[in-house]
């Protein structure tokens, strides 16, 4: 059978891989956004000890390869005999912590873009800290945060492929399986690249659309 024939026969394999990629992507987008938001907010508030801890977290996860982090978590859990640690969970935790470190800086920069005078004005009106953050700071953070946040999500989709190294059966992993069945590697990776593009491009378009809407709103107002 020729290479393309093998790829066609492997279509269910590839589809499962795609679904696994999407599942990991979806879970990690949620996870890393929550982690990034909390860490970014913690850093923004500059609570002494917490701030140092969070900085260490960010530096460690931005300063080491994602590949190494996944291996460390997966095999580290095995070493500690944490039987509950599945491949998916290890991938999810690793990617969430890795991407969350970057996303936290996106949120922190967003919070810090709101002038101090905004908090002060809200304080003099008697608003509680919670309301100042929720009703004054956050809404102003959104336009600043959304474009770089989407850029992180785009990165994240592609970074899920690294989970194949610890055996997560996502798209690249299943593509490799197809090559093992006799498909030409070049053809397989061409197909995978196309699939990644088809998944990423709408997100890219959405990011650009959002950005344009925000800019439009600003210009309409100005």
């Amino acid at each position: 059978m020729n290479s393309w024939g093998v790829i066609w026969d492997s279509r269910n394999l590839l589809l499962q891989g795609l679904l696994a990629t999407l599942a990991l992507t979806g879970a990690t987008i949620v996870g890393s956004t929550v982690v990034g938001f909390l860490v970014g907010f913690g850093r923004y508030r500059r609570i002494p000890v917490l701030n140092a801890v969070l900085r260490i977290y960010i530096e460690v996860f931005r300063g080491t390869p994602l590949l190494m982090q996944l291996l460390f978590i997966y095999f580290g859990a095995a070493y500690l005999r944490w039987d509950w640690m599945s491949i998916f969970l290890a991938s999810f935790i690793g990617l969430t912590l890795f991407q969350g470190a970057y996303i936290s800086e996106v949120f922190r920069a967003g919070f810090e873009s709101v002038p101090l005078g905004q908090r002060e004005a809200a304080t003099t009106l008697g608003l509680s800290r919670f309301n100042i953050t929720k009703d004054v700071v956050f809404p102003q953070t959104l336009p600043v945060v959304l474009p770089p946040l989407f850029a992180q999500y785009l990165q994240l989709i592609k970074n899920t492929s690294i989970a194949s190294v610890i055996g997560y059966a996502e798209l690249v992993h299943e593509g490799q399986a197809a090559t093992n069945l006799g498909a030409n590697a070049f053809d397989v990776y061409l197909v995978l690249a196309a699939i990644y593009f088809i998944v990423s491009y709408p997100l890219s378009l959405a990011a650009r659309g959002l950005e344009r809407r925000i800019v439009n709103r600003r210009e309409r107002v100005a």
């Binding site: 005078g117 905004q118 004005a121 003099t124 009106l125 009703d135 809404p139 100005a222």
Partner: protein, 242 residues
């Protein structure tokens, strides 16, 4: 006595900004505060409503001990503040700016808060700008919205921290007009300003800040026509020449 600040000291690092300032304000008094930049005027206002903690001294507003960090936040129910940079919330319309604290702090229903908000905007002559966003308003209009926002909370004292300094000269008048009206209605006001004409006409009492202390104090008449200290004479000479 509505505001009582006694022997206030405040440093930023090695920079002593307030070196023993005592100010007492009676209900309905309008205090004009002048002095070179960095002389401590703004820091005093910010200390009075708890935006700045003080190193020593006592500040009392109504029944609130502002120097006590635990009770300091209660001062905001009595004291409204207007900033040099307006500090309107850019994501909210003029009316929403005015009603945010009514809804979140006073817990009013939307209908009630909108009614009070419209009344406050009308009071500063901006009833027709309720739906406008800050960026759509001139500097003078923005500052009037900021005044309305503070007034809507029905403060007992209003602090103005160089409220007209960021405005184009032709827009100063519309803001000082609102401030004059407030003064004539009996609002207690502490006004840090570079508008000497306004201070002279409106203030009951003037404070001249010099290097962290009150260098001279008196009626506008005394301060402007018969300044006793050479420093104040020089200061007035400099600002009035412009």
């Amino acid at each position: 006595m509505i505001v009582q600040a006694t022997d206030i000291h405040k440093s930023f690092g090695h920079n002593k900004v307030l070196k023993g300032v005592t100010v007492e304000v009676e209900v309905g008094e309008v205090i004009g505060i002048i002095g070179a930049s960095g002389s401590g005027k703004s820091t005093l206002l910010r200390a009075i409503n708890g935006l700045e903690t003080i190193d020593s001294g006592e500040i009392k507003v109504m029944d609130v001990e502002v120097h006590d960090r635990k009770s300091a936040h209660r001062v905001h129910q009595y004291v409204g503040m207007v900033f040099q940079q307006f500090n309107l919330f850019p994501h909210l319309s003029a009316l929403e700016n005015v009603t945010l604290a009514l809804r979140k702090v006073k817990k009013l229903e939307k209908g009630d808060s909108n009614e009070l908000g419209m009344a406050a905007l009308t009071r500063v002559g901006l009833g027709d700008k309720a739906k406008s966003y800050p960026q759509q308003l001139s500097g003078g209009q923005q500052q009037r919205v900021a005044i309305a926002r503070a007034l809507a909370m029905q403060p007992q004292v209003m602090l103005f921290d160089e409220a007209t300094s960021a405005l184009d000269p032709e827009l100063v008048g519309e803001v000082t007009k609102v401030m004059r009206e407030l003064a004539s209605e009996g609002m207690t006001m502490l006004v840090v300003t570079h508008e000497m004409g306004f201070a002279r006409e409106t203030a009951d009492r003037m404070l001249y800040f010099d290097n962290g202390v009150i260098g001279e104090e008196g009626t506008p008449e005394q301060i402007f026509t018969a300044p006793s200290s050479p420093r104040l004479q020089q200061f007035l000479h400099r600002v009035l020449e412009k």
